[in-house]
Amino acid sequence: MRRHLPVLVTTAVFVAMFVACSLQYPNFASTRVVANLLTDNAFLGIVAVGMTFVIISGGIDLSVGSVIGFTTVFLAIAIEHLGWPPAVAFVVVLVLAALFGAGMGAVIHYLEMPPFIVTLAGMFLARGASFLMSTESIAINAPLYAEISSTVIRLPGGGRLTLIAILMLVVVLAGAVLLHATRFGANVYAPGGSRASTEMMGVRVGPATIRIYLLSSLLAGLSGIVFSLYTSSGYSLSAVGVELDAIAAVVIGGTLLTGGYGTVFGTFIGVLIQGLIQTYISFDGSLSSWWAKIATGLLLFAFIAFQQLSVGLSRRGRRMAGVTAP
């Protein structure tokens, strides 16, 4: 069971927190709270799935927040100013995001540059590009937007499961299948363990790296679409710092920041934990929003220290079990 320990701990933390909140506030444990939790964190959940892939492969993507911002501005201008049908704008922006990610992946692999600095440049570029398009917050009034936000599944108990929440759940599910049940998924883990060994075992690291960053940017684009649906607007300053929230969610979800280990499910729980902290603070009313950042920081520290410890321990107790001299 040891290899599932990080995810189990994360899940246990989430359940314990949820139970504690429910005991304190009688109407906390309701489908309404759960549905809102999913809706409010839909964009974060989607982008965190992509970040999970990147971090497991041993990289990092600092550009995702900017890509979200770019996407919302692009959509607002395309739909409101240029009159594009939203669906066309969606497709175009996703293609742009994917190309952007593939470009970063190619630079990282072929020029052997640290992902940190390449995606940092990507972050500047995407944010700068959205500033150049518009510095105003532009409201999006397309009928499709209104339609999507009014489409909900009513849950017993008054919860309203929105389309974007459902989309996030679908992305989490698809991400889990892609990561855990395909050859591509295994190739994502491989370079996080050892790049040299991965190449020795005949896996082409280059194409895998490009696809990983492509996927991350693509999901950031999708997250941007969700964000614009959620806020019904486009703003170049939206989603500033989301890359940090995503990284925090991934780490709290039990993924090793140095790569090689992690799950999409853990990331999902990590996102929910962050959302739960926000929800608790808004329920409490007297607590201030900055406690969320401090709590996230503490959780980050706890999980990183826990990982450091368990990595050290697992180096010791290695098994010779199961070997029988024939």
Partner: protein, 327 residues
């Protein structure tokens, strides 16, 4: 085999001169400097003054990077220390205020240093913790408001001047000199360059790398604390949300422009400060030319890529091969 030679600084100086020249073409009054109320004014002075916080950060950051580390938390540390200074300024004397702000900066550095050198956590991961939590701590101190103060003593740090030189510029210059003295006046510089260049060899040569690493992170945070105090003093208040936001990235960029490799080893503090001035000169130039300031980010992205391409070992190998073939 390609080896990086000691820094001449020529490319950086040329870059700065070119940018200044472009600024001059865009705005003919660029080099005009006038003395008003005992303080120098002018675009050039403005570049120095506005560039001071990032220059301060780069002084600490260059040492961290020379040891193959990185400190993502400097922006958050700026926010924390600025918040402390602003909150205490009106109720305490300046020495107490400064001691509190710098003391907390020191603790932040100690935290980072212990995580990196004591627990062996990757620098980028270790400093991420404070980067995330730090802004929350700063908001906790200011209780989410923009804390303003009126104490003229603290305000002087942001807006005052010494023999005409703006206080932030003077403080940064003093800090640069002190750091140069500490690093190049002792054997510390050699130890850092050796450890960043080859940690195993340095350990075998008897260098105590652990204490040195912690000290360097502490110094980096101390620089950030000072930058935070200056930023707060400048606007007569502390904005926990925006103080120092993204400045860690500017500081890293300044170090990289200054020719210090992200892979550690040889470093130059003066050139890192020059790098900070190059960034600020670009910012000011864009402002003067009438382009929207938003242009800054795109230009910065291009500069990051250009500098990295120049530093890329892969490209260096490629160009060497081409040169051989051409011969």
């Amino acid at each position: 085999m390609t080896l990086r030679q000691p820094h001449s600084g020529v490319p950086q100086i040329i870059a700065l001169l070119v940018i200044l020249a472009v600024n001059w073409i865009v705005s003919p009054q660029f080099f005009d400097i006038r003395l008003q109320d005992g303080r120098l004014f002018g675009s050039l002075i403005d570049v120095l003054n506005r560039g001071a916080p990032v220059a301060l950060l780069s002084i600490g950051m260059v040492l961290v990077i020379a040891l193959r580390g990185i400190d993502l938390s400097v922006g958050a540390v700026m926010a924390i220390c600025g918040a402390i200074a602003a909150s205490l300024a009106d109720s305490h004397s300046l020495p107490v205020t400064l001691a509190a702000a710098l003391g907390v900066g020191l603790l932040c550095g100690l935290w980072n240093g212990i995580l990196v050198a004591g627990l062996g956590i990757q620098p980028i991961v270790a400093t991420l913790i404070l980067m995330v939590a730090g802004r929350g701590i700063a908001q906790l101190i200011t209780e989410g408001r923009i804390v303003t103060f009126t104490d003229p003593a603290l305000a002087w740090i942001g807006g005052g001047s010494i023999v005409g030189v703006p206080a932030p510029v003077a403080i940064t210059a003093v800090m640069l000199l002190v750091t140069l003295l500490l690093v190049r006046g002792t054997a510390l510089g050699l130890m850092i360059e050796a450890t960043g260049g080859n940690e195993r060899a340095s350990t075998l040569a008897g260098i105590g790398t652990r204490a040195m690493t912690i000290a360097v992170y502490v110094w980096c945070s101390l620089c950030a604390a000072m930058a935070g105090v200056i930023a707060a003093a400048d606007i007569l208040g502390a904005d926990a949300n925006n103080a120092g936001l993204w400045l860690e990235l500017d500081a890293i960029l300044a170090v990289v422009i200054g020719g210090t490799s992200l892979f550690g080893g040889r470093f130059s503090i003066s050139l890192a400060v020059l790098g900070a001035l190059i960034i600020q000169a670009m910012n000011t130039g864009i402002l003067l030319s009438g382009y929207p300031p938003q242009f800054n980010l795109v230009v910065k992205a291009v500069v990051v890529m250009a500098v990295l391409l120049v530093q890329s070992p892969k490209l260096a190998g490629l160009s060497a091969a081409l040169r051989r073939r051409a011969r």
